[in-house]
């Protein structure tokens, strides 16, 4: 089994990317009055920067340790782990790091090439980075064709070819291939197939995960799938099947199905979903949610029963570790006495299944609960205020946080927002001390009818009771984004997508 990426796969990815680029260039080069009836889209430039002190594993001599109030060995107030005789290890703050990630997006949809219903859609992304050794995730991936497909609509049939994605109860599935979508009457039938891309990415897994994961195969992954949906009045249901398999057909990657239903009955809105994993012969994630408007629609009561089990592709070992599901009951109540005010309150309790793992001393908790409350308020036309409080107490983790943001429209096309946050957080089975405080200022401006700008900065500071421990939460973040609308379409006041 080769651990290197297939040169054929890389070639296909390059072809796909170049194809998308050519589509974009072709679209930009087409005069609106000539071949294409219209071109619409946007070009966006985003820059993000972060400054922080990452954690670094350090060593300390056992002789330099002291004991805390619980009798645990600490160094400079921080817990240490002593596995060797003389040396102990601890997580200490490293030097200050900063990084800047820049992305350039180009999204264009062009249609009307003399063929009725034909259009081309591209969403291309180029990346660059600056800064020191700290690397923003994916900023070294210079170019991605997020989407790049040609679409033909004839009557009730829509066909696509190229890089596309399917959004469904099985999540997002991006692939290079073809799809056909047919809507006879109240039905919606879809079939698709092609080369599957890594989850959450736009590249084959062996390319995208090289160096990041231990066991990789050089095989392409083929995906085939289909769905059938039926809609009647205010009820819609879709059943879907999807299968991914390595190109050499030696191993299956996934084989799943899903059922999603929404229905608005008199006095209640229902939502239900369920997926089934044929590989492990088990039900995956599922939920049943009922939302009831009361008091003339001013009250909204939502009750949800949820079952969640992590899903892993068969190409990794994780699924064979047999993660267990949790079941949860959650209720939310919302109150909107007017369109200017909305308040909600919610809470949930969950229980994890029997992990069947070895128990030392005593088992870990297998239940948890969470609660939250929030408000959306427009005290005046130009001012919007949102606030949220979250309290979560789950096995191994804890969060107690409050956030607020006030958005003010200075004038038409110009807004500013002021945000604040504070939280206590115990990460996964890791002690947390103190509280983090932060605030931010951002602005959004429509400079012209096609040009818009957003930007802002947030600062976060971690304070412990004795102010001795510094934390990676002491960080500063900033971003700017410039977006230019391109082209025009009847019914749209400016370029853009919806």
């Amino acid at each position: 089994m080769s651990l290197t990426g297939s040169r054929y796969g890389r070639k296909r990815n390059v072809i796909s990317s170049v194809g998308g680029l050519l589509c974009m260039v072709a679209c930009m080069g087409i005069p609106a009055s000539a071949a294409a009836q219209g071109v619409r889209g946007w070009v966006g430039s985003t820059v993000q920067v972060v400054e922080m002190r990452p954690l670094a594993l350090d060593t300390v001599l056992r002789s330099e340790l002291t004991l805390d109030a619980l009798g645990r060995p600490v160094f400079d107030g921080r817990l240490v782990t002593c596995a060797l005789e003389d040396l102990c290890t601890l997580y200490a703050l490293g030097p200050q790091r900063w990084t800047l990630a820049a992305t350039q997006d180009v999204n264009l949809t062009a249609w009307g090439f003399g063929v009725e219903g034909l259009s081309v859609t591209t969403l291309l992304r180029a990346r660059a980075r600056a800064g020191d050794a700290f690397v923003w995730p994916r900023s070294d991936d210079r170019f991605d064709a997020l989407l790049g497909y040609a679409q033909l609509v004839r009557g009730r049939v829509r066909a696509r070819a190229g890089r596309q994605e399917i959004r469904s109860g099985l999540g997002f599935a991006a692939f290079d291939g073809a799809s056909v979508f047919w809507t006879p009457g109240r039905w919606a039938i879809e079939a698709y197939g092609g080369w599957s891309l890594a989850r959450g990415l736009r590249e084959p897994g062996y390319d995208a995960l090289k160096g990041l994961e231990s066991y990789l195969t050089d095989q392409n992954v083929h995906v085939v799938g289909g769905s059938a949906g039926y809609r009647h009045s205010l009820t819609a249901a879709t059943v879907r099947y999807q299968r991914e398999i390595h190109a050499d057909r030696a191993s299956l990657v996934s084989e799943r199905a899903s059922l999603d239903v929404t229905s608005t009955l008199p006095g209640v809105r229902l939502s239900a979903a369920l997926d089934y994993d044929f590989s492990f012969q088990r039900i995956g994630k599922s939920h049943l949610s009922a939302t009831v408007p009361l008091g003339g629609g001013h009250w909204l009561v939502e009750a949800t029963a949820r079952r969640y089990v992590p899903y892993f592709q068969l190409s990794t070992i994780w699924g064979y570790f047999e993660p267990v599901a949790y079941t949860e009951a959650e209720t939310r109540v919302g109150w909107s006495p007017s369109s200017d005010l909305g308040i909600w309150l919610g809470g949930g309790w969950r229980s994890y299944g029997d992990a069947g793992a070895t128990v030392v001393l005593q088992p870990l908790r297998d239940d948890g609960w969470r609660g939250s409350a929030g408000v959306q308020w427009h005290p005046m036309t130009r001012l919007a205020v949102e606030g949220r409080y979250v309290l979560e107490w789950l096995p191994g983790g804890f969060l107690n946080s409050a956030d607020a943001v006030a958005r003010f429209r200075v004038r038409e096309g110009l807004g500013v927002a002021l945000s604040g946050t504070t939280f206590q957080q115990f990460e996964q089975f890791r002690l947390g001390e103190g509280r983090a405080f932060g605030g931010g200022l951002s602005t959004d401006a429509e400079l012209t009818d096609r040009l818009s700008f957003t930007g802002g900065v947030t600062v976060l500071r971690h304070r412990t009771p004795d102010s001795t421990v510094e934390s990676p939460w002491n960080q500063t973040r900033g971003w700017t984004s410039l977006r230019v609308g391109v082209g025009r379409e009847p019914g749209l006041e400016r370029g853009g997508t919806r």
Partner: protein, 484 residues
Amino acid sequence: MNTRGWNVVGWRPVGVVLAVTLVLGVGVAGGVRALQEDRFPHERHQGLFPLCTGCHQGIPASDEADYYPSPEACARCHDGDQEERVEWSPPVAVADNVTFSHAEHARSLEREGDPAQVCEGCHSEPGRGRMSVSEGIQLGQCWSCHEHRSTDHQVDADCTTCHVPLAESRFTRLQIEDIPVPADHEIPGFLSEEHGRRASTEGARCATCHTQDRCAACHVDADRGEIQAIPAAPAQMELPPAVAHYNEPSSHEDAAWLENHRSAAGTAAAECVTCHTSDDCRACHVAPVPGAVAGLPSRSQVVAPGVGVTAHAPDTHESLFFMGIHGSVSAASGASCATCHEQTFCVACHDGPANGGYHPPSFVSRHSAAAFGRTSECSTCHSTEVFCRACHQESGLTGFGRLGPGYHDAEPLWLLRHGQGARQNLESCVSCHQQNDCTQCHGVLGAFKINPHGPDFDAQRAWERSPRACFACHARAPINGSSP
């Protein structure tokens, strides 16, 4: 409908006095009556002119130039010697919309042998003789032959008997504005429902008072047959301004109309195009639009503005909890989402370089708890290995090699107790640890050879489905013993 231009020199003061006296003394009705009186004293001349055509010789041939006698003809008697002089000029014909033909009626005169009697029938007051000519015609006389079906003369489909279409008239804008509104136009629902039905059967009646332009001011489908049958106004005709007005059909009031209008558009697009241009549809529908939309004319192609629909989010989108459920809605009815949203819309947020609004502000600073207690699958948008693990690595939060010493310091003897936590939240483990970290202990070749499979593990099925994954831990095939 003509007016007379008869002025008698010397009689003018008397006429003015009489007119003022009549207006002041008799009132408006009397005044109107006075204005309607023939200002040429026909009765005083009745002995001189035995035939109407003696003076109006152009009438039988519909020769407008000879409808009235010339001033020279009057001066033969009114020469200042025999009779006092008079100033005479033929009346100026004003626009009318009457289809009356004197020539046709002249032929009927001849058939009946008494032309004078026939003139009298329309132009003289009944019973007062041929020369009792009055202003205007006696409509009742027309109806004695041309049967009228209604007591209200405008409520009748047979307008064409007497009237030409408005477009063929020489009506001015003021005259058009003064056309009285028939009583049946005032009934409830006339504009929204009734007028279309009547136009299909009584188009000629519509054309009497309307030009095609009036229909096209509202109707997007002005090319439909009923409208095209109504003559358009000639270029020189000045029309009153027409403001488009659209009534909402009762079908649109249904709560599910937005969701169900597609089927109506598919089966009855001809009705949609009455009020809607394709611009209306494109306010929501993204290109390339459905065939029913593409078939509609655009606003630039028609005179009517159309309803002017603006993009309107469904009620579901207004819910406080919509962001939380939109994934389910999309999964159940993705076709509905695709009506208004292109795929790039989803990607721009779900794969946006800066958070597009899915997560609340400052989410990144406390995302670990949300990820740990996840209710939705983070990895469907975020690659666990590339997105999560890479960033955790940069932040110093990633285990390198075996389980990082001391990181999970909230649990004593973590290494011995991590099994339960891993099975409960394996996705969180994966956000820091590679497969290699686990196989160092759990693999057959690992340090402790600890079996990671749970009690219900079906090895046979796993081997059949994905044998390649087995060799991450097993040196030989776990089922039949073959090598990789």
